[in-house]
Every structure is written in C-alpha cells, then in structure tokens.
Homo-oligomer: 287 residues x 2
Amino acid sequence: MTQINSAQAANALLLNQVIAAYSRTDNARWNVVIESLLRHLHGFVNEVELRPEEWWTAIDFLTRTGQACVGPRQEFILLSDALGLSSAVDNLNNASLAGATESAVTGPFYVPHSPHIENGGSIALAGEGETVLIRGRVLDTAGHPISAAELDIWHTSPNQLYAVQDKNQPEMNFRGKLRTRTDGSFAFHTIKPIAYPVPVDGPVGQLLNKGGRHPMRPAHIHFIVSAPGYQSVTTQLFTRGDEFIDSDAVFGVKDSLLIDYQRNTDRSLAVDWVLDHDFVLAGPSAG
Amino acid sequence: MTQINSAQAANALLLNQVIAAYSRTDNARWNVVIESLLRHLHGFVNEVELRPEEWWTAIDFLTRTGQACVGPRQEFILLSDALGLSSAVDNLNNASLAGATESAVTGPFYVPHSPHIENGGSIALAGEGETVLIRGRVLDTAGHPISAAELDIWHTSPNQLYAVQDKNQPEMNFRGKLRTRTDGSFAFHTIKPIAYPVPVDGPVGQLLNKGGRHPMRPAHIHFIVSAPGYQSVTTQLFTRGDEFIDSDAVFGVKDSLLIDYQRNTDRSLAVDWVLDHDFVLAGPSAG
C-alpha cells in the first residue's frame, strides 16, 4: 500500500505538471478542453491502476483503429459511435427543440454527394426486398409547410451493406436527395431496410466481442433535413419492434424516432409497405 | 439552460446504458476497466459540452495518429508519452523500491535486438561529438555486486535522431547490450548525448504546438538493466543542468535519475568526459 500511495501521490504531482504545460495558451476554450481531457485520462489511468500490458493493448488497439481507416472506412467514428460518445455529443449539441424532429448520430457511412431525384422517384438501384413508399411533409414548429426543403437520404442495401462498403453495388444505391413541393410534401420509393451489423472485421468488432455485445443496428433510414432559415436536423427513423431496437450497437435510438410501416392497402400503389412521416424543423432562434 | 440540462440528463441515462452494455462480462478486470474508461470519456464530453467541430478534430487527430504509425514509428506511444500518461503508468507499476534505481518511460524508440558488446567497447559507430566513458556497477539493494547483469542501452546520435529514425546511420548506432563482470562492474564508450526534439512532423507535433509546448527532451541515455532473480528496471539517466530538464516534452525526468558527467582528468583515458554511475536492482519480492 505504501508503494501504491506513493505512486498515486507522484501521479497527482505529474498531472498538475502536465496540465500546467498544456493549458496556459491564449485560447481559453483550448485551455478548458485540454485540462478536462487530461484530468479524465489521468483519472482513468490512476483509478484502475492501469497495468503495462493493458497500456500496450490500448496503444495497439488505437493504432489499428487508425490504420483501419482506409478509403471511405472510418473506424474511429465507428469507435466513437460504439462507445456512445457520438450520441452524447449529438445530445449536447442538438438539444430537443420543442416540437422539432429529434436528431440522431450521423454514423460512419454518410457521403455528401448523393444524386438528386424527383419526388415519387426511387433510390433503390439494385437489391431485392419488400418495397416501400415513404411520404410526408416537412413542417415548421407551427405546422406550416416548408417548400424546397432538402432531404438527404441513405440506408443499407438488403445485403446489409451500404453502397460505400460494397463494390458490387451501384455507387449511389439507396442514396438520394430530394426537395419538398410547394405544400411541403415529399415522396420516394425504396426497399424497406433491415437490421444489419456494423463492420466486425476491425478493432471495433473486437471491442464489441470483448464486451459481450452484438454488432447489430436495428433497421433504420438516415436523413439530413434542411431548409434555408431553419435549423437542419441529422436523424434516423427506426423500425419499431425491431429485434435490436433496445440494444443498438451504437446507442442511436430515441423513442420519438420510432416509426411504423403500414402494409399497403391501396391497389393503385405497387408497393408492399407505406410509411407516412412528417419532419419538423425549428427556426434559427427557436428553442 | 433548459436544453443543456435536458441534454445532460439524457447523457446520464445514455452513460448508464453504455456501461451496462459493456461491463457485464465474465472478466472482472475488464468490467472495472471499461466502466472507468466509459465514465471518464463521457465525463469529459459532458464536462466541456464537446462541440461537433471539436469531436471531428478529435476523430481526425486520432485517425492521423494511427496512420502515422508506419514501420518503426509509433505515434500513439509518443502521444501517450507527451500527455504524461506513460509516466503515470510507469509510476503505478514501478513503485519506488527502497534503494533501487527508479524507473522511467521506455519511449517510442526502443528496439529489442541491440548487438552485444564487450566491456570497455563502444556503442558509437558513427557521429561526431564529445566522447564519454560510462562505467559503474550493478548492485543489489544490500550493496552486493550482481554479476552477468545485462544492460540494454540506447540513445540519440549527435544529429538528434535515433538510428531507428535515420536511414543515414548504421542500424545499430548508439545501441548495445553488455553484461557486468564478476564484480558487478561494466564500462562502455559513447558520444555524450545532447537534447533533441521528439518528432514534430506528425499529429503529436501539432498537439505540442497547439498547447504552446516545445518538443525538446533533455539529454539522456536509456537503459534496461536486468539480472536473473532481480526485478529489471527500464530507466533513463538525465544530464543535470540541461536547458530542458524542467520541461521534458514527455515528462520523464525524476530527481534520482539526474547525473553529472565529469571532465576527464585521467590522461590514460582518451575521452572528454567520464560518468561513474551504479544501478541498483531490487530482489523479486522486495519493496
């Protein structure tokens, strides 16, 4: 115990020295952030009395995570997602605005240059599955329609991979942008998404396995909804009742984002399912 | 404030959910370590209310740090060193053993396969500088000599680079292993080391710059001293009075590891300086 207490005392002095070295810049925000980061990193090391072999494991894990970021793959975003840190940052910066659609994490599979499609068009270029028509309106918090709002949409293919992960899919498969009509309405066709695993062939997969966690995300569709003069929202719509709805590998599910697909009963529509859903955007100073 | 408080409340629930997901394995140590890590990472994010652009900066920084680990370069060890975390782990796991030589961080430039040299030989294969004879004994804590103890030695070249960083040096320049004689004594020749900067052309260099820190390490020599039946020690000997002795970029300096080179006055020795220094190893159950 004498040794340990002596080590903890030495580490308390060390931490003060490290904080003093990094947190005396002219950048007040930097000083606050780096001091908190150093206190928490050293706090962790001291609290668990981190062992040399555990430190090596961490160095190796972080190194491999960086090296797994090849091409469009971003394993550090996936790590942040899988540790719930992305959702925490999302919560802090997208505080629920009264009446507006809640946000959810972006995830590692967003790419900005999706093709524009016409209202009523399809984002499914390849893949077999149950068809769905998704339609609704983009509204302000007073219920007024927002015309020419943009919806940027992406989801996985029925093979459980995003196009960006899968060379065998067309590059723009299950991705598209469209704009609301004058009455705020939009509509597009796609294949109803299914649950899928986050990539498990890298360090994050090993972390999930070590923690006894499955890698599955419940079925969902990503949206970024934006319009001039309004606060844009990055969000996801999750299939209520999905097997993994309470154990999302990346902790992205929020109750207000659960949606119910309806079996299509309209014979004039050649689809299996229909989803009617409105998005609500807050004004720039709302809240 | 309502928004922030609501976000903090949401994040408290989120953290509980994340901890529950990861810390219920059969591995008791894992459960303790991961819970502490999650509490501190989320604690940091919540305490500073981390902004999306800061999160992106962190993702990008960590990604580039992993990607900078090419060949023998290990930027994540350098990062751990530069944040004082390596010294904290060192302190926790090498608690000062009464009378034994104190430890110091290994650093990112150790490689295990240094060549064996004879006592009295030189580890300087190339490079111009002031010559030094380093000699002493390896002892146990009772002052008895330890024969056939191994010293694994490495330091920078006068051009401020380790051989492992520099294609223009012989691969084994300023690196060598030797064994103590029956009386515990050892001796070797080298060039007196000078202060040098840690690599500044990668993410850690940018971090130091952002924090207003210089990248210099005070002049030092690395040793791993080991002998069967004793606790080995990884340590460094630092030149007292060095300009950077109180601001080591990696927080490795300890008072007991400061040494004084003496101007050589013995005409029978063709060297500029002499360092007499003993190492003391603790027994396996000492402390």
